[in-house]
Symmetry: C2
Subunit: 369 residues, 2 copies
Amino acid sequence: MTGPRYTALVQTLPANVPFVGPEQQERARGAAFAARIGANENAFGPSPRAKAAMAAADIWKYGDPASHDLRLALARRMGVDPLNIVVGEGIDGLLGYLVRLLVVPGDVAVTSDGAYPTFNYHVAGYGGVLHKVPYCEDAEDLPALITRAREVDAKLIYFANPDNPMGSWCSGAAIEAALRDMPEGCLLLLDEAYVEFAPEGAAPEIAAEDPRVIRMRTFSKAYGMAGARVGYAVGAAALIQSFDKIRNHFGMNRAAQAGALAALDDQGWLRQVIADVGAARVEIARIAEACGLRALPSATNFVTVDCGADGDFARWVLADLVGQGLFVRMPFVAPQDRCIRVGCGTQAEMALFEAALPRALAAARGDTP
Amino acid sequence: MTGPRYTALVQTLPANVPFVGPEQQERARGAAFAARIGANENAFGPSPRAKAAMAAADIWKYGDPASHDLRLALARRMGVDPLNIVVGEGIDGLLGYLVRLLVVPGDVAVTSDGAYPTFNYHVAGYGGVLHKVPYCEDAEDLPALITRAREVDAKLIYFANPDNPMGSWCSGAAIEAALRDMPEGCLLLLDEAYVEFAPEGAAPEIAAEDPRVIRMRTFSKAYGMAGARVGYAVGAAALIQSFDKIRNHFGMNRAAQAGALAALDDQGWLRQVIADVGAARVEIARIAEACGLRALPSATNFVTVDCGADGDFARWVLADLVGQGLFVRMPFVAPQDRCIRVGCGTQAEMALFEAALPRALAAARGDTP
């Protein structure tokens, strides 16, 4: 008996995954990590109100497929209409839907070389052709992305502000200015997963009905609910409504919907988390600099640390940190792969990092103890 | 400025949704439902152990993208290898992934006319051509589905056992016998969402590596966790692994993973729920028969009640029940649309149904009070 007849595209796709989870690394090493500071999660966690709302949810009921109440609250906060907002299973899920709306085999998308791999995964998954633009001084280069999009007739540009994995950012005004050069029929996907951590002015002013941009945000980062899978996209109503043609309408976890709504209502908690993250950023920079390394400026909940040599050296540092029980990751692409990416953790996690980093550097330099 | 350039397929898709949620109906009518017995949810709810596990989950962490522990536990229970199991965002999510693996525009799938609309939604969403086979005596007709699949060179057959919306079922032995006629290169998607409610012998014996079948199950029904979105598919390892090429790897809610694992471990609770559902089935049948209606035999957590006339009459009955504050649904297609579908609710909900049904029938018959 033969097996199922996969599509021609599926037959060409690799079975590798965008990221290996820390649990799989823990199973492979046979021990739990002492510090979980590698996936840009938020160790300070969600608002107690969000936790209470999740615990109180009637999980025997399906979630509201329209995510009505959450969309309404988000719309009020963003100053847009609820019809400008779609809620989905994390930004990852919404990325997949958006690519599906636009890309068939041969269609072109543009991103930065070394930017978020899950976007690339979805473009490849729908047969798209991906063009990559290098980082410029460790930041995604929006004007260059737009120029490339024009050259290759791209349907879609991925641009994150602030950026992951470098933690860099640009002003909203710079984004607004760059948008003037957007080619017709090209959509800018503005990933704002980390925007709550960024300085004032990092979010551009974009009219909800502007057909050139869709912005995506999440409850996974500043709101501390990565495990809940709640992302949202804001854009022109026609584009937002098109998600209804293809999305998993009953895909949202009901407790997660309630938790996100409650989290949004607790802006005091959010401010405290942002302050805690800010303090941890300072701490990571201090630890790095005490070891003679440079911490890159960060507008996110992680700090990218330049290990001062090449990618092989940084990979040694990373491997040693992992061996010491710290879950950390690093950029994939040169020259950014000279860095490691360290998440803003609890004080206990920061203390572990402070103890581990000198040893990891010594090991990478081949110093014998 | 023009908008984004959607794919040709997306431009042809309707924006309507497979189901309107009860919350949207409540918003439209301006009042909450007194009985929520329309979405085949499980009012008896999840195991307290599952609730405790969900409340204890560290929701600030992403879920394990491999759903390792849950797959291991499911594999033990099913007597298969974990490589034969993929966990996803409900059966709805897994249906979408499976269709994407197999169907490009023009490819053919077969289902029953009036069976689960979300399968049809996904086939249409990937441009597939759907052939429909009529129900036979209010049951899906697997031999006829297979015959049709052979005639139209289908890649995929949808077949639910037990069936939704009719509640009917066939023996596992009958499925095993029918499988002998499966055409080469055709996959049977066996939707077993309700199988825990079915009599002994309803689940066929199928070797895990049988390339002809993928079976799907869920924590939404007997385990009482519809809002958690945890489904799983069991099939040949090569097919299961192919989901990794396209799925949202970080799509699973972490608390839902923990809750499902705990629910699986509380088979005593499951047995009690199945008993409670069985009692409610008897109660619905008694109420229907007291009104002179026939309750169809059910192997699910709902009972489909033959209103004894045509679809228009049943739609009147349904509309009146909804007007009385009972959330119920009904089959879409004739002649099954002579029925309404009533979920097994709490005793309070069954009492409301008992009070409402005679009034709804009188209204539909045009009797003046």
